[in-house]
Symmetry: C2
Subunit: 288 residues, 2 copies
C-alpha cells in the first residue's frame, strides 16, 4: 500500500468512526428529551449505503427524523473518478490529471425546538495531484435574541472551535472564523446565515499527520460542544410565535444552500447523490 493509499484509508476510516460517534450521541439526546415537550417515540438513525457508480465509490447516508432532532443528516462518503473537462480547471491539481479521490463527513441538524440552534459541520480530505483538508462547523440560532456574537450558545460554540484551532496554530482561529463569516453570508439579504464558527479549505501545511490531527480535533470539538448546547436548551419550552420565527429563519438556510453553497450547487450540477445532498433541506419552512 502506497503512502497516499494509507492516508486515504486513515481519513476515510476516521470520517466513518466520527459518523458513528455523532449518531450515537444524537440518539442519546433523542432518548433523553423530555416527553412533556417532545411527543412520540425517540427517533433513530436510518443508515442507507449508496453507490456513486461502478468503480466510483459511494457513501453511507444516516438520516434521523426524530422528536428533538426534527431532521438531521450525518453523511459520509468516499468517492473517486475523473473530473469533467469543465471542472478540471477549477480544482487545484486537476488540470494535468483529472483523477480525484475525496472523502468526508457532512452534517446538518434542524431541531424541533426553536430555542435549540441548527448546526452544520463538514470535514473532508481531497486528493488530486495535490491533497488537502477542508471543513469547519458553524452554528445557526433561530431566534433573533440568540443571533448575536455574545449570546451564550454562540460563545460556547466558538470557544470549542477556538480550542481545537489553538492546539494546532494560533493563527487558525482568527483566520478560519473570518473565513466562516465571509462564506456563510447572504448578500441579497445583507444577513449572515448564523453566528459563525470556523471554515477552512485547501489546508496542506506540508505535514499530513498534523493537518489530519487538526481535522480530527474539529470533529471532536463539534462532538463535544453541540450535544452540550442541545442538552442545555432542550428542556426549554417555546411559543408558537417562536416556532414561526424558526420556520421563517429556515428559509434563509434554504436560500443560502441553493443560491450560494458550493457543496450543494457543485454536487447537484455534477451528478452527486441528490437525495443525500438535499437531505440538508429543513423539514418544514415558511416564506409568509
Amino acid at each position: 500500500m502506497t503512502d497516499q493509499d494509507q492516508k486515504k484509508r486513515q481519513t476515510s476510516a476516521w470520517f466513518s468512526k466520527l459518523q458513528g460517534r455523532i449518531c450515537h450521541a444524537f440518539e442519546q439526546l433523542e432518548s433523553e428529551a423530555p416527553a412533556s415537550l417532545y411527543g412520540g417515540e425517540a427517533g433513530q438513525f436510518e443508515k442507507t449505503p449508496w453507490q456513486r457508480g461502478p468503480e466510483q465509490g459511494g457513501g453511507v447516508a444516516a438520516l434521523m427524523r426524530g422528536r428533538l432532532f426534527e431532521k438531521v443528516g450525518v453523511h459520509v462518503s468516499e468517492v473517486y473518478g475523473e473530473f469533467s473537462e469543465e471542472f478540471r480547471t477549477q480544482i487545484p491539481g486537476a488540470g494535468t490529471d483529472p483523477r480525484f479521490w475525496a472523502a468526508g463527513i457532512s452534517l446538518i441538524a434542524h431541531m424541533r425546538n426553536p430555542k435549540v440552534p441548527a448546526v452544520h459541520m463538514n470535514t473532508r480530505y481531497i486528493v488530486t495531484t495535490q491533497d488537502w483538508f477542508g471543513g469547519g462547523g458553524d452554528l445557526t440560532p433561530m431566534l433573533a435574541e440568540q443571533r448575536s456574537d455574545d449570546a451564550p450558545d454562540t460563545i460556547r460554540f466558538h470557544a470549542s472551535m477556538k480550542a481545537a484551532c489553538d492546539a494546532h496554530d494560533p493563527d487558525y482561529y482568527p483566520k478560519f472564523r473570518d473565513w466562516c463569516d465571509r462564506y456563510f453570508y447572504l448578500p441579497h439579504r445583507e444577513e449572515p446565515r448564523g453566528t459563525g464558527g470556523i471554515f477552512y479549505d485547501r489546508l496542506n501545511s506540508g505535514n499530513f499527520a498534523s493537518d489530519f490531527a487538526f481535522t480530527k480535533d474539529v470533529g471532536k470539538a463539534f462532538l463535544d460542544v453541540y450535544p452540550a448546547i442541545v442538552r442545555t436548551r432542550m428542556g426549554e419550552s417555546w411559543s408558537s410565535d417562536e416556532r414561526e420565527q424558526q420556520l421563517i429563519q429556515r428559509g434563509r438556510y434554504v436560500e443560502f444552500n441553493l443560491l450560494y453553497d458550493k457543496g450543494t450547487t457543485f454536487g447537484l450540477k455534477t451528478g452527486g447523490n441528490v437525495k443525500t445532498i438535499l437531505s440538508s433541506m429543513p423539514p418544514i419552512v415558511k416564506w409568509p
Copy 2:
C-alpha cells in the same frame, strides 16, 4: 416624444393595466370561494410601490395572502439605468452602450387547495440599443395524477396559450412550448417543474405593433384561462395527504427558482428588489 419613448409608454401602461385586471379577477375568486372549504375572510391585494433608486425606476408589488390564494404576487416594474461591466457582455445590444430600460409583469400564485395548480406568468419589454419582448405562462399542478400532458387543466391551459400563439404565427406555439419544457426543468431531479405552457424571449420580428399585440394576447389568454381553471377546481375538497403532497411539490418550485431561474438569480445577484423577487417563494414548504 420619440417613437421609442412611445413604445415604452405603451408597454408599461399595458403591464399596469393587466396587473389591475388580474388582481380584480383574483379578488373576485377569493370572494367566491366556498366558506365550507376556505375559512376566514376573503383576501385582498396589498399594493406596495417601490423605487429602485434615484432616476432608476421602480414598480408596484401587489401581494395577496388569502384563503383560496394562499400567496400570490402580481408585480409590475419599469426600471432603467446602466448595466454593470459584468452584465454588458451578457445582454444583447448592451456591449456598446450599457443603458437599458425594462418593464414587465410577473406573477406567481400558490393556492391553498392542492387540487388547484400553481401558476406562473411573466411578460416583459426590454430596450438596450436593441429592443425585444419576452415572457410566457406555465402551469404547475401539485398532485401526481394531474402532472401529465393529458390531465384536463393542462389541456385547457395549453389550448389557451396555443390560441394566443396561433393568432400570430403558426410556428410560435410548438417553438415556445418546447422552449418552456426545456427551461422549466430540474436536471438534478430529472423532473419538469410543471406541465408546461409557453416561454419566449428576444422576440423582435421587426414589427413592434405585432410583437406587442402578441405579448398582450399572452396576458389576456392567461387572464382568460387561469381563473377558469381555479373556478372549476376550487369547490373540490382535499385530504391531508394531498396537502402534504402539495407542500413537498412546492419544494421543487423553490429548488428551481433558487438554483436555475435566471430572473430570480439575476435579480438577487444584481441588486434587484429582494422582497419582491422572493415574494414568489411558496408560503409553506416541506422537505420531509
